[in-house]
């Protein structure tokens, strides 16, 4: 399988060059020889925030199919910065889409409210500009890129490695999502869930982690560095063992290119296979006690892609999750964040989160930009009610970054 996908990727693999508003972003193909793509060479995070100017954040940023409009209470909407009388770029989609598709371009509702257009070459891009001009569509309404669709989605081998992409624990046989890159006192690595390692609450020196599938895409060989044991005693209630996060830190193997501070930014929401077109840039970490309730939170994961979370339902939650590590003592996770999540009953899912999204980074954008505040890692939920209507309000659980750092006993640097 891995050979097959590698072969496919090589076929498409002319590095995808995305020219966006003057910025250039290059994704290297699967199988790039180490060192061929230095981390600093146009990493996804290099796209300037100005590519998504404030003011392009439309009410329709919650795309159809992701969450029903009624699920978003008015008070929970991000403030719209659209100038009075202006239209979001996505409103022009019906005007342009048929012709754009005939030109061989791809079209989507951009997450920043502009109309996302991916033209296969510069000549087509120029025709797109001319068509838009003829039809009265302002240039600022378009998020126009030049590039060919490739396998560079969340499930591909993405180099440099960024947050939000698939990882595989080849040793334990599990697929999860890489949360975000970080630098700890022990070195550079990434944070994901501890249940993505072989043993929860213990280091697994035998764990080999591949980004995408197969050993050819190995990023960490026996380098789980932080996965501290569960503890007993205050503040952990008697009869339980506790952690403050479902998190684990894996150091990178030498030579693995990665971009700290970057989380994969897709062209559209709700589709894990949608192309990666840039990066969300982590500019800060959320602090304990300052969890905002008037912003919209996002997660990026390999199962359901980029999705909005609904409102924060509880903070500082103690989550009972049975005896997941099988040692006979039930576990509690302290200080967790609980979000409402509107999910369709499994297996129709493709809702807010699903199996394989474990470890997903959770964050919120600042205004209408791609600069984001890191919140933590998604690890669980109740996405599978046994009956329609049962558990109609569903939840997903997030370990906050401060709990992760407290568990690890270190401060993580997660910004570029």
């Amino acid at each position: 399988m891995s050979r097959l996908s590698t072969k496919l990727a090589v076929l498409v693999a002319v590095a995808l060059t995305v020219a966006a508003c003057g910025a250039s972003t290059t994704y290297s193909p699967v199988g790039s020889p180490p060192g061929s793509q230095p981390p600093s060479a146009n990493p996804p995070g290099s796209q300037p925030p100005s590519a998504n100017p404030p003011g392009n954040q439309p009410p329709s940023a919650n795309p159809p199919g992701n969450q029903p409009p009624s699920a978003n209470p008015p008070g929970n909407q991000p403030p719209s910065a659209n100038p009075p009388g202006s239209q979001p770029g996505t409103a022009y989609r019906p005007v342009l889409e048929p012709d754009l598709l005939r030109m061989g371009a791809s079209v989507g509702d951009g997450v920043d409210g502009r109309l996302f257009v991916l033209a296969p070459d510069e000549a087509t891009a120029q025709r797109v500009r001319e068509l838009a001009s003829q039809r009265g569509v302002p240039a600022s309404a378009l998020d126009l890129h030049v590039g060919r669709i490739s396998n560079f989605n969340l499930r591909a081998a993405v180099r440099p490695v960024v947050g939000g992409v698939q990882i595989e624990n080849q040793t334990a046989g599990g697929i999860c999502t890489l949360g975000y890159n970080a630098t700890a006192p022990v070195g550079d690595g990434f944070v994901t869930n501890m249940h993505c390692s072989s043993t929860q609450g213990a280091l697994d020196p035998g764990d080999n982690i591949n980004q995408h599938l197969g050993a050819a895409n190995r990023v960490s060989t026996g380098l789980e560095t932080y996965d501290p044991p569960f503890f007993a005693g205050a503040p952990c209630p008697a009869g339980f063992e506790c952690r403050r996060s479902d998190a684990s830190f894996f150091r990178y193997d030498a030579g693995v290119p990665f971009t700290r501070g970057s989380i994969a930014r897709q062209a559209v929401f709700g589709d894990a296979t949608a192309p990666i077109v840039g990066a969300w840039r982590i500019v800060s970490k959320l602090s304990a006690g300052s969890v905002p309730v008037t912003v919209r939170y996002i997660k990026v994961g390999r199962r359901t892609g980029t999705t909005w979370l609904q409102q924060v339902r509880a903070t500082n939650a103690t989550i009972a999750r049975g005896d997941q590590n099988g040692n006979g003592t039930p576990e509690l996770l302290l200080g967790q964040l609980v979000f409402e999540a509107k999910m369709l009953p499994y297996p129709n899912a493709d809702g807010t989160a699903g199996p394989g999204d474990s470890g997903s980074p959770v964050f919120f954008p600042i205004g209408g930009t791609t600069d984001v505040v890191l919140v933590g890692n998604l690890w669980g939920g109740n996405p599978n009610p046994p009956l329609p209507g049962v558990g109609a309000i569903q939840f997903i659980i997030v370990s906050p970054i401060w709990g992760i750092e407290q568990d690890f006993g270190v401060t993580l640097t997660v910004t570029p």
Partner: protein, 156 residues
């Protein structure tokens, strides 16, 4: 005494692993000949814990890969008439990992669930004839395997 097995089969198509396919760098078929069953006592006394064993078996004659939809991937439902009385997964968070397991011919995955004869609100249930069904979520693509319902008799 244990009751017989109930079978629910996955669809007949054989799907070769694609880009998001199996782990371990090998070309392995997804499991399509899976059989789901649940084993439990036919009758128990009121208040006695009931143990359910859920089995997922590869009925094919080849090694295949199964993707389990979350951890734990299974549930057991107990109903009285059409009303859900209890289900094992009630109130349990699901870890959103996609566990990947390879099954040889005839090989089984086994999941356990124990019922203390209380309903989902924690109240003891009355003696009677209950219907039991198990389900297991698999993924890539997402699908729910279900057994048919069978009777569990709780005696006074």
């Amino acid at each position: 005494m244990n009751v017989g097995l109930s079978w629910v089969l996955l669809g007949p198509a054989v799907v070769l692993a694609a880009a998001a396919g199996p782990a371990f760098g090998s070309e392995t078929q997804r499991c399509t000949g899976l059989a789901l069953s649940v084993d439990f006592p036919q009758a128990v006394r009121a208040g006695e814990a009931v143990r359910f064993t859920v089995l997922v078996r590869n009925r094919s004659d080849t090694v295949c890969t199964v993707y389990l939809g979350g951890r734990p991937p299974h549930d057991v439902e107990v109903r009285l008439g059409s009303s859900l009385v209890w289900n094992w997964a009630h109130g349990r968070p699901t870890l959103l990992v996609l566990d990947v397991r390879q099954l040889g011919p005839g090989e089984e995955l086994r999941f356990e669930a124990v019922w203390d004869q209380r309903d989902n609100r924690g109240r003891p249930v009355r003696p009677g004839r209950y219907r039991v069904r198990a389900l297991v979520r698999v993924d890539e693509p997402p699908q729910v395997l279900r057994t048919s319902a069978r009777t569990l008799n709780i005696t006074p």
